[in-house]
């Protein structure tokens, strides 16, 4: 078998092995690559910085457990930034399977780290079915959709909710999403109710959202693990996303090398066939 045939037909499991090594080895021997903060990430940071201390923001966790490695680091980075600025956080989730418990875990852990108190500094409204009705209804009254929080406590008894009952009462919405609900936040909460929205999404979704960024329908975008790493850099708290980006960059280099090799093999084998 010629070398060109080898390049186009070798067992793909060798690729899997190399990718696995590229992910595992950086955990034992950390590698780091320069991290440039992109404009779309900085815009989210700037929007949060522009708010006065003590502002109330909404952070919906529209995420499934399967995308946590991507979405949790950027969610934590945003929550940390909010707590660093002493913002109050109103959270909810339109994803029933796991969304509310992820929200609870992230807010409790970060809240404890910053000495924040549940019900005073942050609240988890939990899940209600039918996101169209939920997003539309909260524009006129959050209480009409969520009479109680995630654990059944009436909203009227929570200090944080004394001044919040609709989108007009929150100064910024940072929607974390791994699915199409982000477009409903843009089209309902942003376009209809005029809320300022930033998005923290999985990398798969990020390219589609750039159209909304250009149109001014989004303030900024944190795209996947890289977006999380950039945000961690901005708030000067490098954590999981930053740690993962070394392996991420290494895997990308391996994939680029295989794409180049595969194309060389393809072109060479085509030339060989033409010569025959």
């Amino acid at each position: 078998m010629s070398w060109t045939a080898h390049l186009t037909s070798f067992d793909r499991r060798w690729i899997y092995l190399l990718i696995a090594l590229s992910v595992i080895l950086p955990m034992f021997f950390p590698v780091s690559f320069p991290e440039r903060v992109t404009e779309q990430t900085r815009s989210v940071y700037d929007a949060m910085e522009a708010l006065p201390e003590g502002s109330t923001i909404m952070i919906p966790f529209e995420i499934w457990p399967s995308t946590l490695p991507e979405t949790e680091p950027l969610a934590r980075a945003a929550v940390r930034h909010a707590f660093m600025r002493n913002f109050k956080i109103v959270s909810l989730s339109n994803i029933g399977a796991g969304g509310p418990s992820i929200t609870e875990r992230v807010l409790r852990e970060e809240g404890d780290a910053f000495g924040k108190i549940y019900g005073v500094d942050y609240v988890n409204l939990g899940f209600k079915a039918n996101y169209l009705a939920v997003l539309t209804g909260m524009g006129t009254s959050i209480r009409s959709i969520y009479p109680t929080d995630h654990s059944g406590t009436p909203l009227d008894s929570l200090p944080i909710m004394q001044t919040v009952d609709r989108y007009d009462d929150v100064q910024f919405v940072f929607a974390i999403s791994d699915n199409a609900t982000i477009e409903y936040w843009i089209s309902i909460v942003g376009a209809r109710f005029g809320a300022k929205i930033g998005a923290g999404v999985t990398a798969v979704m990020a390219p589609k959202l750039f159209a909304y960024l250009d149109a001014g329908q989004l303030v900024g975008i944190l795209g996947g693990m890289k977006g999380g790493a950039e945000y961690e850099k901005l708030i000067n708290r490098p954590e999981w996303a930053t740690r993962g980006m070394g392996a991420q960059s290494l895997v990308h280099l391996v994939i680029i090398a295989f794409i180049v090799l595969g194309n060389i093999g393809f072109i060479a084998s085509r030339r060989n066939k033409a010569a025959e």
Binding site: R13, V23, E70, G96, E183, S187, I188, D214, A247, Q248
Partner: protein
């Protein structure tokens, strides 16, 4: 070692065993995952929809909720050959209501702002690129005339825009999938085996 963490790790390895070849361990893990997800979701919907949004308000006095309740029951008429036509009543309501809500919301919230943004920035190079990209891409999907002459050239330009867009999507998709792999490996190496702090 925490038994739950160990069980999670074993299921993770079972799923990844598919990368070597299809095998019974992988299929067992896949079926357990599908079954658990279906069971969990059924319980969730029962509690959050039937109990919280139907039964509790109903006994609280909101009797008009009998109507959506009956419509919900009608969807199960599909299980009977004789009465399956009744399920169309409920489906017609769901489709009609969603179409009515979504049509205006999508039009005002997504389509019109995007169309407007495409037009108003034509004075800049970026704006011009967007307009050329949108029009040529739309022309690529115009199949009522053969892609020859001027139409062929424009469609070809559109194809390049589509290819560049696919490239950007592919790059981001690779990043997304690798992130998931990193997350799982971090779980195995750090949370399960404690090999790294």
């Amino acid at each position: 070692m925490d038994p739950v963490t160990t069980l999670t790790a074993l299921f993770t390895l079972a799923i990844y065993s598919f990368l070597y070849r299809d095998n019974p361990v992988y299929r067992f893990a896949e079926h357990v995952f599908a079954g658990l997800s279906a069971g969990y979701y059924s319980g969730l919907i029962f509690q959050s929809v039937l109990v919280q949004q139907l039964w509790q308000p109903l006994i609280g006095g909101k009797l008009w909720l009998i109507v959506p309740g009956i419509l919900g029951v009608l969807t199960f008429a599909r299980l009977s050959t004789k009465w399956s036509w009744l399920s169309r009543v409920a489906l017609a309501f769901v489709i009609g209501a969603n179409a009515g809500i979504l049509l205006m919301q999508q039009l005002h919230g997504l389509v019109l702002p995007q169309v407007a943004e495409t037009m108003i920035n034509m004075g800049t190079i970026k704006g011009l690129l967007v307009v050329v990209g949108v029009i040529s891409t739309l022309m690529y999907f115009y199949f009522s005339k053969p892609h020859k002459g001027a139409l062929g050239v424009i469609a070809n330009v559109g194809m390049w825009f589509i290819m560049i867009s696919f490239g950007a999507h592919f790059g981001y998709t690779v990043m997304a999938r690798v992130s998931l792999l990193i997350g799982r490996v971090q779980f195995l190496v750090i949370d399960w085996l404690h090999l790294v702090d």
